[in-house]
């Protein structure tokens, strides 16, 4: 097992996630301009479409991966004391995990038949 954090894998994940995030934001912005949901029920119906629910879930998952690589880079660059770095990485990791679970909950509840 490698004793060091990943270099290539993190870089590739950052690039792939950036491409998907960029494309998804263009799609979502276009959708909300051309066909904005008129009510909460409309929005729920849109999210309930399995393809939309999957694309939205993937968007949040990749957004968090992208944010993790980014914040890891910032902390590796600027935070030298090892304990402070580990504490901050843990804090951000848990924060991102919480955000991910929250997003999953919102999508899951919206996709559930009411």
């Amino acid at each position: 097992m490698s004793r060091q954090a990943s270099g290539l894998r993190a870089w590739v994940l950052q690039r792939i996630s950036a491409a998907y995030i960029g494309l998804y934001i263009i799609y979502a912005t276009g959708h909300f301009i051309i066909n904005p949901p008129q009510s909460h029920a409309d929005w729920k119906a849109w999210v309930a479409d399995p393809l939309v629910a999957f694309a939205l879930s993937l968007f949040f998952a990749l957004l968090l991966v992208h944010a993790w690589v980014g914040i890891r880079d910032v902390l590796i660059d600027y935070v030298k004391p090892i304990m402070a770095r580990v504490a901050l990485l843990t804090l951000f990791g848990l924060g991102f995990l919480g955000c991910g679970l929250w997003a999953a909950k919102v999508i899951f509840l919206a996709a559930m038949p009411s």
Binding site: S2, Q4, A5, S6, G7, L8, A10, W11, V12, R72, D73, I76, D77, Y78
Partner: protein
């Protein structure tokens, strides 16, 4: 013309200071000439220089906030007063003379020489013109250090990040058709520090006095690494 020069003598000073000098500028005068004139006025002033024509890479300094080679930078192109400091991020030995040990260590770490596994032929190893063309824009580096000392990633991690100069040379040997250690070279660059601290800030490209492009070379290394990984 007014010059404000960074001065620090470790034997007598506790903190660095900026000292003003007045230099009479002649037509076509280079920054190195002006520094030599300052040296004539004040012989306690120290700076490195040698060939005077942009070949040896000794007289890298920071003039008005930008790393330049003194010998090929026209004084007339700089805004007055000209503020000259040592190259940033390096320990100052005295005045404009900095300790470049870490810079050379990073260069050494990329094994900047051809590695052959086959037995060496009696004659030279031939390259096609196309193979030779791949080394253009790479081999011209004079190791002045302008790029690496203007790179924020190198400022923060000079002991772990190779820096643009060493990575340009890493690609110079990866791109060489005569080299046979591609996998070993790529393996040595893995991890978050040596190569991947580069965030494409591109200060290196901006300041290189030879107009080389370390950021592009770093991109090529990442692409090659990816090709070998999948």
């Amino acid at each position: 013309m007014k010059f404000s020069i960074f001065r620090f003598n470790p034997d007598t000073d506790t903190t660095p200071r900026m000292q003003e000098y007045e230099v009479e500028v002649s037509r076509g005068m280079m920054l190195r000439d002006a520094l030599m004139e300052i040296k004539r006025q004040d012989e306690s002033f120290s700076f490195r220089h040698s060939c005077g024509e942009g070949v040896c890479g000794s007289d890298g300094v920071n003039a008005n906030g930008r790393n330049v080679l003194g010998c090929i930078t026209q004084v007339a192109d700089l805004k007055e007063p000209i503020v000259v400091r040592p190259m940033p991020g390096r320990p100052v030995i005295r005045d404009l003379v900095v300790d470049m040990s870490q810079f050379y260590q990073q260069y050494r770490a990329v094994k900047p020489y051809l590695i052959r596994k086959d037995s060496l032929p009696e004659q030279e190893i031939l390259q096609s013109p196309e193979q030779r063309d791949k080394l253009d824009g790479l081999y011209e580096c004079i190791m002045c250090g302008c790029c690496s000392t203007s790179c924020p990633s190198f400022w923060w991690n000079p002991d772990k990040f190779h820096g643009p100069q060493a990575l340009l040379q890493a690609w110079r040997f990866l791109a060489d058709s005569r080299d046979q250690a591609t996998d070993e070279r790529l393996d040595a660059l893995e991890g978050p520090y040596k190569l991947f601290r580069c965030h494409t800030i591109m200060n290196c490209v901006d300041v290189c006095p030879k107009n080389l492009n370390p950021t592009k070379a770093i991109g090529h290394i990442k692409e090659l690494m990816l090709k070998h990984a999948i």
